[in-house]
Amino acid sequence: MKRESVLLEVKDLVKHFPIRKGFLKRVVGQVKAVDGVSFTIGEGEVLGLVGESGCGKTTVGRCILRAIDPTSGQLVFYSNNGLVDLAALSEDQLRPLRAEMQMIFQDPYSSLNPRMTTKDIIAEPLVCIAGMKKKEAEERVAELMRLVGLRPEYMRRYPHAFSGGQRQRIGIARALALNPRLIVCDESVSALDVSIQAQILNLLQDLQEQLHLTYLFISHDLSVVEHISDRVAVMYVGKLVEVADTEELYSQPRHPYTERLLAAVPVADPKVKRGRHQLKGEVADPANPPPGCLFHPRCSYAQDICAAKQPELQNVGKDGKEHFVACHFARELELQGVQAG
């Protein structure tokens, strides 16, 4: 477990999307996509961020890179030039910092501009941020392509000439172009075939060790997250419900939601019986969340207090370990995990 120094500190991040209706586009409500999320990522650490579809994982990732602007909250980034709050910067102030944080996207088909050559795509950050001339960039592009396992001879081809896995490698090369420190991987392998997933995952892991990168690894695939992450954060309807070291979270979950998620991971054994722990009901509507604990309508351990009071994220770790859970009964419940793989 590498946890040397903090690289990014997310404090009370909030992103609400207004719902507009009618002729005058009046705001009639808010979709609370991200509602008060706080966590830290250490330098060189891989933090997994998991949750169901629509729980706000991607919004968190995009807010951190300011691809969308957060409603409120602080994003304290320990950049090479000192401390900055990413949430407070203007687009122009942000541009030089973009060299230090990059993103790898989910869909390798839609994340590459079909009208640009591979060379131009990978050179984009070099030209935009570092201000390189095209000729200078070419050498760096070749180097990057070799780094991610692509043949530099192909740099004049357009994205359509590559397979999904190769396209994702192009996306990775683009993200690495300026030697970033933080990379947000937004479902970076979920659009790929299982066999390719493993390749890309291994590539990401190798690069992380080689270049001492820090990942925020966003995924709904728990087995992928377990494979790559040092620590895992679980999100539910815009809030964090549990944050702990990967091994501990998988073997001893403390939040009922995490337990259910783990139980839903497919097991490659037809003899294994299931059904007892399946998640029932629908995900709460982030525009109209239930009172109290957001998970209580679906929780089989729920009691009266759960519907009345929203639990705070608290540290329940033993022996000095950090294990944050937002559940009134975190200390009492005996929950079932899965065997660490």
Binding site: R62, L65, R66, A67, L94, R95, R98, A99, Q102, M103, F105, Q106, D107, S110, S111, L112, N113, P114, R115, M116, T117, E124, P125, C128, I129, R157, Y158, H160, A161, G171, R174
Partner: protein, 283 residues
């Protein structure tokens, strides 16, 4: 550029269209050298003559040589078509891109402006403008250009709205590209093909609109020839029925030019799309 030309060349129809178009443009430019007669010199003893050695396409109801008028008319019809589309495309492109990219209040203002332009009765506005400024070829170009920008603007706005939400635009933002670069390098190339098709159709309809305006005496003032006013001169029934040499040449010229432009537009659209050289990429 090299690849672009190679992709374009592969489309034989577009290549043919381009050749024909170039031929027409050259013949319009060199009309003074090619025309056997003065296009405006009437010869009343020589009216309504069918094609002959002296007048290969015959003469019209004022005894003017149709071939000469056709060549000179090409100058006006082609330049009206190209310039007015140039104007409408430039305005439409800028306003459509701004509306689609920035959205919000700017978008509303621009699109309501487009609605206003759309809702003006074209002819009444055209009559008013040429009543104020007088009929001339330049006024015709301006009228056609300024009145037809909402089409391309709406088209481009729709493309921008669609492309703005794609991942590669989000990627470009996260990679630090500024709005200008995103608009022109990332979105516009992907929005080009529908725009190109609409532009080629626009040239065709501008040539036809010029004909309509000329008919009303608002376009190119006679005696200067244009394909439009040549066609309109041939409208009487006895000419349509008995003297096809008066309307077949200009009609055919409009038809062939419009068709060629459409083929070229198709070819350009395909040539702009790098996916088209799949076969060549996998050498």
């Amino acid at each position: 550029m090299d690849k672009f030309w190679r992709r374009f060349r592969r489309n034989k129809l577009a290549l043919t269209g381009l050749c024909i178009l170039v031929l027409f443009i050259l013949s319009a430019i060199f009309a003074p050298l090619l025309a056997p007669h003065d296009p405006n010199r009437a010869n009343l003893r020589n009216r309504n003559k069918p094609p002959s050695r002296e007048h290969p396409f015959g003469t019209d109801d004022m005894g003017r040589d149709i071939l000469s008028r056709l060549l000179y008319g090409g100058r006006i019809s082609l330049s009206v078509g190209l310039v007015s589309v140039g104007i409408s495309l430039t305005i439409g492109l800028i306003l459509g891109a701004i509306a689609g990219y920035f959205g919000g209040a700017i978008d509303t203002v621009i699109m309501r402006l487009a609605d206003i332009f759309y809702s003006f009765p074209f002819l009444i506005l055209a009559i008013t403008i040429s009543a104020i400024f007088g009929p001339s070829i330049y006024n015709t170009m301006m009228i056609l250009g300024i009145l037809s920008w909402p089409g391309p603007a709406r088209l481009l706005r729709a493309e921008f709205l669609k492309l703005k939400t794609t991942d590669f635009v989000a990627a470009a933002t996260a990679l630090g590209a500024n709005p200008r670069r995103i608009m022109f390098r990332h979105i516009l190339p992907n929005a080009f093909s529908p725009l190109l098709v609409s532009a080629t159709l626009g040239v065709a309809s501008a040539i036809l609109s010029e004909a309509g305006l000329s008919f009303l005496g608002l376009g190119v003032p006679p005696p200067a020839p244009s394909w439009g006013n040549m066609l309109n001169r041939a409208r009487p029934l006895h000419i349509l029925a008995g003297m096809p040499w008066m309307w077949i040449p200009p009609g055919l010229a409009v038809f062939v030019v419009v068709l060629s432009i459409n083929f070229v537009g198709d070819g350009l659209r395909d040539a702009f799309d790098p996916r088209q050289d799949q076969t060549q990429q996998y050498e």
